[in-house]
Assembly symmetry: C2
Homo-oligomer: 385 residues x 2
């Protein structure tokens, strides 16, 4: 259940609250990615300490390994990974396509090959819903057909129709909160068709999929601008696989409530720390004697205990603790960014907040040669995160 609490007076930004069996998610919200039942490099206690309210795991990958039974008998994902708060699960059809495990898509579902034992599987909407329910997911995502960027209008149209049919079957399984995923590529009328069809079926929330998969950012925001108004005011809108601080803020201004992305965690593993003053590449020589924490005043465990110089050393000698400390900081920063956005919305000052963040150092996406893969998250990530 979602409650819309406030709409910013000068932008489309919203503050809301999603209620689930495992508690509340205040929106705007950012979910760290725990694809294989673990946020890369972190323990569940460390993720909790970043103040993340929800994480997202991947139903399909967990169905393959360790298998639904193993998770179910451990008390679901919450028991298995010792995470007390909200868990979203992505259906995972997207991962199949990317991983090259894809064997075919039909009316019934997606056929794929397990990377672990070469076994063949058919993921139907009903199976997808059952798997997510047995994993103990609080918010399940419908199985969608997400064609790659560059797909022509005709094929994209077929994917929209298929996604709608699957959503209907998925809905019939009815357990817990169910979100459907709007597809339609870069085509305005297909996005419209997709959104209409899914809204007609009626879901607890709507994902926007098929974005941040290689298209230019301008195209992504154009599609967002066209798609968000097609979704009901009273339901949460979830932009899958986005993104950088700048993109998050821009999408919030357009009315997005929920995000997930491997962006902060993957960038951490490439030495990039995100702060209110922008992005730091902590492996650079200029930090080797820098006794400050990553960010002064930051509440995170990395900033409370360790200096940039020590983290720089750990990254250089490839001690895993280095990546972990940057991951802890980045996830904490992303949570603080969402907290700041929410407070700003509640006082009708989101535009000023966004401008202040951009002026602080997030106005441009840095291009210093380090990977900054904004396609992170279930809709845009590599299957390994």
């Amino acid at each position: 259940m979602f409650r819309l609490i406030h709409r910013d007076k000068k932008t489309g930004a919203r503050a809301g609250r999603l209620y689930t069996r495992h508690g509340i998610v205040d929106t705007p919200a950012f979910m760290p990615v725990a694809t294989k039942a673990g946020v890369k490099t972190l323990s569940s206690e460390e993720v909790l300490e970043t103040k993340a309210q929800a994480i997202i795991a991947n139903a399909l990958l967990l169905y393959l390994k360790p298998g639904v039974e193993a998770v179910e008998e451990a008390g679901g994902l919450h028991g298995f990974m010792h995470w007390p708060r909200v868990i979203f699960t992505d259906s995972g059809g997207f991962q199949v396509l990317r991983k090259g495990l894809f064997q075919g898509v039909s009316k019934r579902g997606i056929t794929f090959r397990s990377p672990f034992d070469e076994s063949r599987h058919l993921f139907t909407p009903a199976l997808c819903a059952e798997v997510q329910a047995r994993l103990g997911s609080d918010v399940a995502m419908a199985l969608d057909d997400c064609p790659p960027y560059g797909t022509g209008q005709e094929a994209a149209g077929k994917a929209v129709a298929r996604t709608a049919r699957w959503a209907e079957e998925f809905k019939a399984s009815d357990r817990g909160e169910l979100f459907a995923i709007v597809q339609g590529g870069v085509y305005r009328d297909l996005r419209e068709e997709s959104a209409r069809g899914l809204v007609e079926i009626g879901f607890d929330g709507y994902g926007i999929g098929g974005l941040s998969i290689g298209e230019p950012k301008a195209v992504m925001f154009r599609v967002l601008e066209e798609t968000v108004p097609l979704l009901p005011e009273g339901k949460p809108r979830y932009l899958m696989g986005v993104g950088s601080p700048r993109e998050l803020l821009r999408a919030i201004a357009l009315g997005i409530d929920i995000f997930d992305s491997a962006f902060p965690t993957r960038n951490a593993r490439h030495n990039a720390a995100y702060t209110w003053s922008g992005r730091l590449n902590l492996s650079k020589g200029r930090y080797s004697r820098d006794r400050q924490p990553i960010e002064r005043g930051c509440r995170c465990g990395a900033c409370r205990n360790y200096s940039r110089a020590y983290i720089n050393h750990l990254l250089k000698v490839q001690e895993g603790l280095g990546m972990r400390l940057v991951t802890i900081h980045n996830l904490t920063f992303f949570q603080e960014l969402m907290e700041g956005a929410r407070e700003a919305i509640l006082r009708d000052g989101f535009r000023e907040f966004e401008l202040a963040v951009l002026e602080g150092g997030h106005g441009v996406e840095p291009q210093d040669g380090h990977p900054q893969k904004e396609e992170g998250g279930p809709q845009g990530e590599e299957p390994d995160e």
Copy 2:
């Protein structure tokens, strides 16, 4: 300063207490290896939680990277790595030899090439002492000449003489607690010569080096039996680079007080957990549905929060958290083993304690095909730990 508190009535085992600038080390003691100013996979907070009282870092490797100045201006190793308790530093000559960076040994010291920038360095006893002092080491180890296993008696004799000369120069630098390292290979009279020479100079403690470097275990224990009686009762004896629970207990019975080794941490990264019931290979299929913690009743963070099944999953999908949880458990177990040994010594029951541990599951070194490199630690490790 070392205080010998009690000698077990039926064995050579001792309970003692080493006093340093950063506090006390109760002996018998086991030190985790933090070669490059970090215990692999763990934060300093996590190492503290295992109740380790001391760690050992490598002076030579830190001299190369990040450099003495960077550590010194961060408040020494204690400030740099945020570790409040005792820090030993190994001189690191041994690592040079193993890494193949060795360029020559002369009267003056060891010449080696940096793996980072190919620069040539001469490590003299005076430089070695200065580096350790500036790193803020609580217990510094003398520069020793440690020839490989298999070295003939004549060459081993030269190394003994060189180690003694260097120890004298090292002693002259006099800052903090200084330990010398007894060499002499497998040759009884050389060990005797080495021990006599070093004891004559007079140190705060004595390392026993040149063991656990590939010789048969029977040879190691024969050398230990011959060497320990040559060392003064009132000073701590430190067996470098050992070892498995079984070896630790046997060496304690012979009168060893202090150990360091990569054994528990390296084995953790090869999926092996150490418990009072023996060793578990947690990557095996039989743990995939095992909802117990690694060890029931264990105080460690891994056992308090996570199941064998979850750790098995993490190891299988290669999430770093898996190795970390096993490392936390293993280091906690090794500390508990030392605590148990100390309590047993204080009540004159060390023999019974040792037998109980061996009967519990540590009677034989398991041979199930997984690496169990007992040469861990500064005297026997690969330079990467």
